[in-house]
């Protein structure tokens, strides 16, 4: 009976022709070089998503910062000019307001509402007693809603004595004085 203790001797004899030779060594070294290359390449490849994520984060930051950045007053002027009447209707010019079709005017900040005969004076002041100050840079802080009898509503940004129409900012001291004096 052959004993297990003889296994090394028996195995060495049985496997004498099975040796880790020079060709296997060269194969290993080549594979190691290839592995190193692949590893480096993989590392570089891993950098790509990292770089892309960084760029995406940077873009997001820029977008967010831009979103929070105070709008330059030139842009505000443009925005408010074009906001006039745009919320529920097309942008409106001060010339387009038809006295006969206006039903009411509401100041958004305090909800003051002017109707009926008082409207005529106000609209006339808006259209006749106002000057173009489009070259000035005005920041608007309130809104007027001009309701028409046909259901349309023009939303006009204001900052007394300035009014932002679609075709530019106009100034009307009379309009705002009348507005203050008028009872709702």
């Amino acid at each position: 009976m052959i004993k297990l203790e003889n296994l090394p001797e028996i195995t060495d004899r049985a496997f004498d022709g099975l040796k880790a030779n020079e060709s296997l060594k060269i194969r290993i070294l080549k594979a190691a070089i290839q592995e190193e290359k692949t590893y480096t390449h993989r590392q570089k490849r891993h950098l790509v998503p990292v770089l892309l994520s960084s760029v995406a984060v940077m873009i997001l930051c820029v977008v967010l910062l831009n979103g929070k950045k105070p709008i330059p007053s030139e842009e505000q002027h443009l925005i408010h000019s074009f906001t006039a009447g745009s919320s529920e209707t097309a942008p409106v010019s001060y010339k387009e307001i038809d006295l006969l079709s206006v039903k009411s005017i509401v100041r958004c900040s305090d909800g003051k509402k002017i109707e009926n005969d008082q409207l005529k004076q106000l609209i006339e002041a808006l259209q006749s007693d106002s000057v173009n100050v489009s070259d000035d840079i005005i920041s608007m802080n309130d809104q007027l809603k001009i309701y028409n009898t046909d259901g349309l509503c023009f939303i006009i940004p204001i900052n007394p004595p300035y009014i932002g129409w679609s075709d530019g900012i106009r100034k009307s001291d009379l309009f705002f004085r009348l507005l203050e004096e008028t009872k709702d």
């Binding site: 203790e5 296994l7 195995t11 049985a14 004498d16 040796k19 296997l24 592995e35």
Partner: protein
């Protein structure tokens, strides 16, 4: 001073190759395992304590062998026992087959028995070292060795009767 790749290859590569061959019964697979082990040694550059290099090499080799053995591809291709063959020295060819009966019987053991037998009897690792290498309790190593001995005895006695 840590041993170089050349020294480790010279000292242990053949043993790794033979143990892998014992495990898998396929020369190409055994060479692949040996390659993987030494490539990992070069690329990972593990900090091996002096005298622990051999256990590291065998631990990696056996893990790799187990992976291959468990692989569905290998199980499909190698049905039953691996196609174990001997590689005797030229002048040994033609000697009595029973001389190699033990080697063949060991190769027929189930992997969990084969690895402890190879590590203990062929490579001379202690039960404690094998327990650390395989991540199993020393008692489990001893019990596997005992059961492996019984199975080998049964197989060799069966051969003698035949």
């Amino acid at each position: 001073m840590p041993l170089s790749f050349d020294e480790l290859y010279r000292l242990y590569a053949t043993d790794v190759l033979r143990v892998s061959y014992y495990y898998l019964g396929n020369r190409e697979q055994a060479e692949d395992v040996t390659q993987d082990v030494f490539v990992r040694l070069i690329t990972n550059q593990p900090e091996l304590e002096q005298g622990r290099e051999k256990s590291w090499l065998f631990k990696v080799a056996l893990n790799r062998c187990r992976d291959i053995w468990r692989g569905s591809w290998y199980k499909k291709i190698v049905l039953g026992h691996p196609a174990f063959e001997l590689f005797p020295a030229p002048d040994e060819i033609g000697t009595a087959a029973d001389k190699y009966a033990l080697a063949e019987a060991v190769s027929h053991l189930r992997p969990e028995f084969k690895e402890v037998v190879l590590l203990f009897y062929y490579q001379g690792f202690s039960v404690t070292e094998i327990s650390e290498m395989l991540g199993i309790a020393e008692g489990t190593v001893s019990s596997r060795l005992s059961r492996a001995r019984n199975k080998l005895q049964e197989e060799l006695e069966g051969d003698e009767k035949r």
